[in-house]
């Protein structure tokens, strides 16, 4: 379901299709138990992303020609990634690893499942780093980012530390998995499949 929604987002290039897909994804979110009020943060990301992408399009092909392509591209990206955020809520962890394990080598399936699982944790990490850097003086508040001069701060102060923390977390997860014998045998069994 989530993969289908992501594929549909890539092909949805007209306003009616984008609106219909947005409605479908919001319904899926409701079915997954997501309260729409809790999507404020995602809305901020979408607004920031749209501002940046539309700005770049307008810079390249002018105003107003760049407005719709910029908005459409940002909308498509958001619709493509949103189902990925819903996936961990819709499919239990072991089931997801099991399903992926049928079509992929189990090590690859594990990496994919872990990437989805730790996405919220990385989001939390991003928030904490963001807030601490803002107080250090980094110009990365939404209003600051309206000025392209401040965009390098976003890379230096947020993206670089976040990548480093992401790599460290990946190392920890790998170590924790190996400590519980992940990879000891060529195959593994799945609980609940007995």
């Amino acid at each position: 379901m989530c993969i289908s929604l992501t594929i549909l987002a890539v092909g949805a290039r007209t306003l009616p299709l984008l609106l219909a897909l947005t409605g479908l994804e919001l319904l899926t979110a409701l079915a997954a138990g997501v309260r729409l009020g809790s999507l404020r943060r995602e809305l901020i990301y979408f607004t920031t992303q749209t501002t940046v992408i539309t700005g770049l399009y307008c810079f390249q092909i002018g105003i107003p020609e760049g407005l719709w392509p910029g908005l459409r591209t940002s909308w498509q990206i958001a619709l493509a990634f949103f189902p990925g955020l819903l996936l961990p809520r819709l499919v239990p962890q072991s089931e997801m690893t099991g399903i992926l394990g049928k079509i992929l080598p189990y090590r690859t399936a594990f990496v994919l499942a872990m990437s989805l699982r730790f996405l919220p944790m990385l989001g939390q990490e991003a928030r904490e780093i963001y807030e601490a850097q803002v107080l250090r003086g980094a110009r990365i508040l939404p209003k600051d980012l309206l000025n392209p001069k401040n965009w390098p701060d976003l890379v230096h102060c947020l993206a670089v530390p976040l990548i480093i923390q992401g790599l460290k977390a990946a190392d920890q997860v790998a170590l924790a998995a190996r400590a519980r014998e992940f990879g000891r045998f060529e195959k593994r069994t799945y609980w609940g499949k007995g």
Partner: protein
């Protein structure tokens, strides 16, 4: 003599590509039912030792000496169970049942047999919860015990624990101590742990070791501080450092701040009507009136808080994991609006944009904030963004580095420093702006006594000499609570004075 479950003989190791040995001629012997504790400074090689014992060091060709690991009685078992420091990055599944099944799946156990093993593991750890309980709904202490239960299902003979006290509150540590004692007594397992704050475990540890620069030495008896849990106090350890050397003795619990300002006050204002901003006086930098705090889409974690804090106050906020300490700090910095009541800083509702430079916050692991190529540049960044005169920046950076005792690291890469040095760099970058309010989120987590003393000295002197209001959260039991002028605790959704 009983056969050991683990033996290391003259074991040495250096990480690939590095000439310096992290472990040098380590000799260690652990017998059945023994509880060994390794003490030592941050970066002395303790974690590397634990990975060696578990057989998880990269490139074993860099190792010399002998490691005799315990043998599993069957292919469906693992002889050594390792729990690393942070439970969050080790919980790999959504529910406790799946988490406990993970290791068994890797050992290719038949699925039908797993549930029995899982239930036994959870029962041994006093975690009689439904198997579909989400791991995200557990407290930090429960998460740690789920990880232990997941290992117990794999029938290890030796449990290896890296800093179990670093992430747990006193209640979590107490429960962990009890279950470890049971595991040793009932199941005959052995325990090897590294710990900066071994006080709570001291009565159960049978063998003590000290790790210094990769060398492991046996201690004839329990170190005194372990049994008495001597609290950490600020010291004048680093000579030539004005801020640190200015603090020769711990400050009294309550004292007046600078002349003309009233001492810090914690008042119960629950029945007072909220006052307007015009009532702000310079002696109240933080004011809470009937304030409820929490996330907008959930119940408040703190209700009806009333508090007034003056400049130069040292405030310590304690409370079990997950009670709302971080939420409290986020509300003060304006990233979360209060759910009810009023929160003011300098007489105004907190707006992050307005307080940049005046309010500084240091994360639990401040090394997460580092991104520059040199320590010097980390500090200079803050000053540049605050619009400081470029000509004064080098002097101010050097002054702050000297105050923090890390002037010699100015040209070093922040990413190549030790854990403790990175911690001080993160703190120094916050101090460079000379903030009026300094907020620290669990600044002592994972640090050894020496670094805790240095940080405590720094923040104490900062409050006394510069009149900075310093508020830190902690769950460490050994960090001198009497250093704080105001001691707060979050208890059952309320902020109370201790």
């Amino acid at each position: 003599m009983t056969a050991p479950v683990l033996e290391l003989r003259d074991f040495s190791y250096s990480y690939p590509g590095q000439s310096k040995q992290v472990l040098t001629d380590v000799n260690l012997r652990i017998g059945p039912g023994e509880w060994h504790c390794v003490l030592g400074a941050t970066g002395s090689g303790k974690s590397t030792l634990l990975k060696a014992v578990r057989g998880l060091l990269p490139n074993q060709t860099e190792a010399r000496g002998e490691v005799r690991l315990p043998r599993a009685s069957s292919l469906k078992e693992t002889p050594v169970g390792l729990v690393l420091q942070n439970p969050e990055t080790q919980l790999l599944c959504d529910t406790i049942g799946e988490e406990c099944a993970f290791g068994l799946e890797n050992l290719c156990m038949e699925p039908a047999k797993m549930t029995g093993h899982i239930t036994r593991g959870l029962t041994a750890l006093h975690l009689e919860k439904p198997l579909h309980t989400p791991t995200s709904a557990l407290s930090m202490g429960q998460k740690y015990r789920v990880l232990l239960a997941a290992l117990l299902t794999m029938n290890p003979v030796l449990l290896v624990l890296d800093e179990p006290g670093a992430q747990l509150d006193p209640y979590g540590i107490k429960r962990l101590t009890t279950v470890l004692e049971n595991v040793i007594t009932d199941l005959g397992m052995s325990v090897l742990m590294c710990e900066h704050d071994p006080g709570p475990f001291a009565d159960h540890v049978t063998h003590w070791w000290c790790m210094e620069e990769g060398r492991l030495t046996s201690l004839p008896s329990a170190p005194e501080f372990s049994r008495t849990a001597k609290p950490i106090q600020p010291t004048a350890k680093d000579s030539g450092n004005s801020l640190i050397s200015g603090m020769a003795t711990p400050c009294p619990p309550q004292r007046e701040t600078r002349a003309g300002q009233r001492p810090p006050v914690l008042s119960d204002l629950r029945n007072c009507a909220p006052s307007g901003h015009s009532s702000f006086t310079p002696s109240e930098v933080i004011s809470l009136r009937n304030a409820s705090m929490g996330h907008p889409d959930s119940d408040p974690v703190i209700r009806n808080a009333a508090l007034t804090l003056a400049p130069g106050t040292l405030v310590c906020l304690t409370g079990p994991n997950g009670t709302g300490k971080s939420t409290f700090l986020r509300t003060l910095t304006g990233f979360l609006p209060p759910l009810a009541g009023s929160v003011t800083l300098f007489g105004k509702p907190p707006r992050t944009r307005d307080f940049r430079g005046r309010v500084a916050m240091v994360l639990q692991n401040p090394q997460r904030q580092l991104f520059e190529n040199r320590v010097f540049d980390e500090l200079a960044f803050n000053l540049k963004r605050a619009g400081a005169d470029p000509e004064t920046i080098p002097d101010r950076v050097k002054e702050t580095l000297t105050q923090c005792g890390i002037a010699h690291l100015a040209e070093a890469s922040p990413f190549k420093l030790s854990y403790g040095q990175q911690h001080l760099t993160g703190l120094a970058s916050a101090l460079a702006l000379r903030p009026e309010i300094l907020l620290l989120d669990d600044p002592f987590a994972g640090l050894d006594h020496a670094y805790c003393e240095r940080i405590l000295s720094l923040i104490t002197t900062l409050a006394r000499e510069r009149n900075t209001l310093v508020l830190w959260t902690t769950h460490r039991t050994d960090v001198q609570p009497h250093t704080a002028d105001v001691r707060l605790r979050i208890e059952e959704d309320h902020l109370v004075s201790c």
